[in-house]
């Protein structure tokens, strides 16, 4: 039987050569690469769709006015192209959202990662996933018809407008809680158990271990989660369009109505501006700005994650 075996594997030179051609393997790899390239194509598509009108816009309006003035109203007569009011509104709503989402999301993440039993986690994580899936129109509807009236009743001194940055920001915050919570939880779960054991073995309590060992060790992952959440908040459209309003004034008071960049795009993009007009091109200029902002934030986040991977690998 062993002799048979030998003949089954002859020692002739070239016996290790490919016994049958495998073009399929190569074809598969090409197909897979093409699939991966779709995403690159998407980015190219976005850039192409944005670039030409944006360039035309800046040749008509000029960077100076766009970034140098604080009056916004591309669809008014005379038009005004100072982009700061909508940037400020975007940042303000994002800030409110972050103020809501970071403590709640982070605390939820610590709870899920460090305190919850597997059983509890198995129930709570899907609930957070549902929250993450709630359509943004629904959040907008809820903010406009429930949260704003409630806030107006409970805190009349705030002088909330019917549409306001506060409710919109609050609900954007609720929308991004699951992002902060689940990504932070992932990075806390990635903290080697050895670190926790090391801390407990020194007589540290669970709270101290969570706060002083786990959170710092997962820090860059947490920051990456927050950055992703920030870019989702900054780009959120429906909630701010429904509950935040379109008023393009330069204001910091969150009780006021204000238009964010995304809200402006939604409003102008589905509206009156006629093709080729400067007002129309403004949509693309603002879109480009939003794209560049999220790109920059995401690049930052990718770097953070990179750094965090290095610590344990």
């Amino acid at each position: 039987m062993s002799a048979q075996h030998r003949t089954a594997a002859p020692r002739t030179s070239g016996s290790l050569a490919r016994s049958r051609p495998r073009y399929g393997e190569f074809a598969v790899k090409v197909v897979l690469l093409l699939a991966a390239l779709v995403s690159v194509l998407t980015t190219v598509g976005i850039v192409v769709a944005l670039l030409e009108p944006t360039i035309e816009f800046f040749s008509e309006v000029g960077l100076g006015e766009f970034f140098g003035s604080t009056t916004w109203g591309p669809l008014f007569n005379p038009p005004a192209f100072g982009v700061w009011p909508i940037i400020v509104a975007t940042l303000e709503i994002t800030l409110i959202a972050i103020v809501v989402a970071v403590p709640l999301g982070l605390a939820s993440a610590i709870y899920l990662s460090e305190y919850a039993t597997p059983r509890v986690r198995k129930v709570l994580k899907p609930v957070l996933e549902v929250l993450a899936g709630v359509p943004t129109v629904v959040f907008g509807f809820f903010a406009l018809t429930f949260v704003t009236p409630l806030l107006q009743d409970v805190f009349p001194f705030l002088g909330l407008d019917g549409k306001n940055a506060l409710s919109a920001g609050l609900l954007v915050g609720v929308m991004i809680i699951p992002i902060v919570a689940s990504l932070s939880e992932d990075s806390m779960a990635a903290v080697p158990n050895g670190l926790r054991e090391g801390s407990y073995a020194l007589g540290a309590s669970k709270m101290i271990t969570s706060v002083r060992v786990v959170v710092p060790a997962a820090f860059s992952g947490i920051v990456a989660a927050i950055i992703l959440a920030v870019s989702r908040a900054a780009g959120e459209t429906m909630i701010v369009a429904i509950a935040g309003g379109f008023k393009s004034v330069f204001t910091l008071n969150p009780a006021n109505e204000m238009a964010t960049m995304a809200a402006f795009i939604a409003q102008a993009g589905s509206g009156d501006a006629s093709v080729g007009s400067t007002a129309y091109k403004t949509i693309f200029a603002v879109g480009s700005l939003l794209f560049v902002m999220t790109f920059a934030m995401n690049y930052l986040s990718a770097r953070m994650v990179q750094k965090y991977r290095e610590v344990y690998d």
Binding site: N77, Q152, G162, G245, F246, K247, G271, D272
Partner: protein, 308 residues
């Protein structure tokens, strides 16, 4: 519907090309444009659907400008508009060889509303409105007192349609003298319900929108009479129809493309629209045309159909 080519030319009728009312037609009549006019075309579409269930009439509401953009790109058959087509838009249509007609299908009475709690204003002159709304008022006219010393110093909170709407264009044109010229620090909204909520919730609130919205919310709001030099006139069906509610009574339009009208389903839809315009306007809660306007509508459509 299910053709391979998604352009309007492709959606030809599968049924007999006859225009007789009885023959079952099919196909799609694409409409888009003004969100103000949309309910009118939607009502027409609903009623027409009972007659010709195989003809589909989707109604978009991209706004008057958005509608013309698609219309002049050959992407829709009929465009709804709450203001007449602009010169640039005409040029865009011409460039694509798209011919069209302007059909006036109903009348709207832009209604200026204030809160029920407002006990000082029942009638405003167009000048007073201008004083409130002109670009120069931005940041300066903050209370009612700034408009007229007789009014109390109640904070003036302004609400209106978004800058992208035909309603805004019309109002700014008529009141401020130039289309789009407006103070920017008012609360604009695509959703007229927001104006209802906003104005009814603020003692010093003021806003404007289509007559329908006022009628639906007459319990919450108070309509202001308008004085354009010949005395105060309250918005009403009769005043608008009779041409007395100036300058805020405005016509609403649909723009069918000449090429599309060649298609039997489009022609049938328009025929139906025009023939039943009274019912449609009532269903959509607009002010119906007066008899002269109705006659003009019919002849306008006929001349479009007989065009080239």
């Amino acid at each position: 519907g299910g053709d391979a080519k998604p352009t309007s030319e492709g959606t030809s009728a599968a049924a007999a090309p006859g225009e007789s009312q009885g023959a079952a037609l099919s196909g799609e009549v694409k409409t888009d444009g003004s969100s103000t006019v949309a309910p009118l075309t939607q009502a027409a579409s609903e009623l027409f659907g009972e007659e010709q269930p195989q003809v589909k009439v989707p109604v978009g509401s991209s706004g008057t400008g958005g509608g013309f953009e698609k219309f002049c790109n050959g992407e829709t058959d009929i465009s709804n508009a709450s203001r007449p087509i602009k010169d640039e838009e005409k040029a865009a249509c011409e460039a694509k060889g798209i011919k069209f007609a302007e059909l006036t299908v109903a009348t709207d009475a832009l209604t200026v509303v204030v809160s029920k709690e407002n006990d000082w204003a029942t009638c405003l002159t167009t000048d007073q409105l201008k004083k409130m709304w002109e670009p120069a008022a931005e940041g300066k006219v903050k209370t009612w007192k700034d408009v007229d010393p007789k009014f109390p110093a109640e904070e003036l909170k302004l609400y209106g349609p978004g800058t992208d709407s035909g309603t805004f264009d019309y109002f700014t044109d008529e009141i401020n003298g130039e289309e789009g010229a407006s103070r920017k620090d008012y609360s604009p909204s695509e959703n007229d319900n927001d104006i209802v909520t906003g104005v009814s919730g603020a003692k010093g609130g003021l806003g404007y929108f289509g007559f329908t919205y006022f009628e639906e919310n007459a319990d919450k709001l108070k309509a202001i009479e308008i004085d354009s030099g010949s005395g105060c006139v309250a918005p009403s069906v009769e005043a608008a129809q009779g041409g007395k509610y100036t300058p805020l009574a405005r016509p609403l339009f649909v723009y069918p493309s000449a090429a599309a009208v060649k298609r039997p389903e489009v022609a049938a839809f328009l025929d139906y629209y025009v023939a039943n315009i009274g019912t449609i306007a009532k269903d959509a809660k607009f002010i119906p045309l007066n008899p002269e306007q109705e006659a003009k509508l019919k002849s306008d459509l006929e001349s479009l159909k007989s065009q080239g």
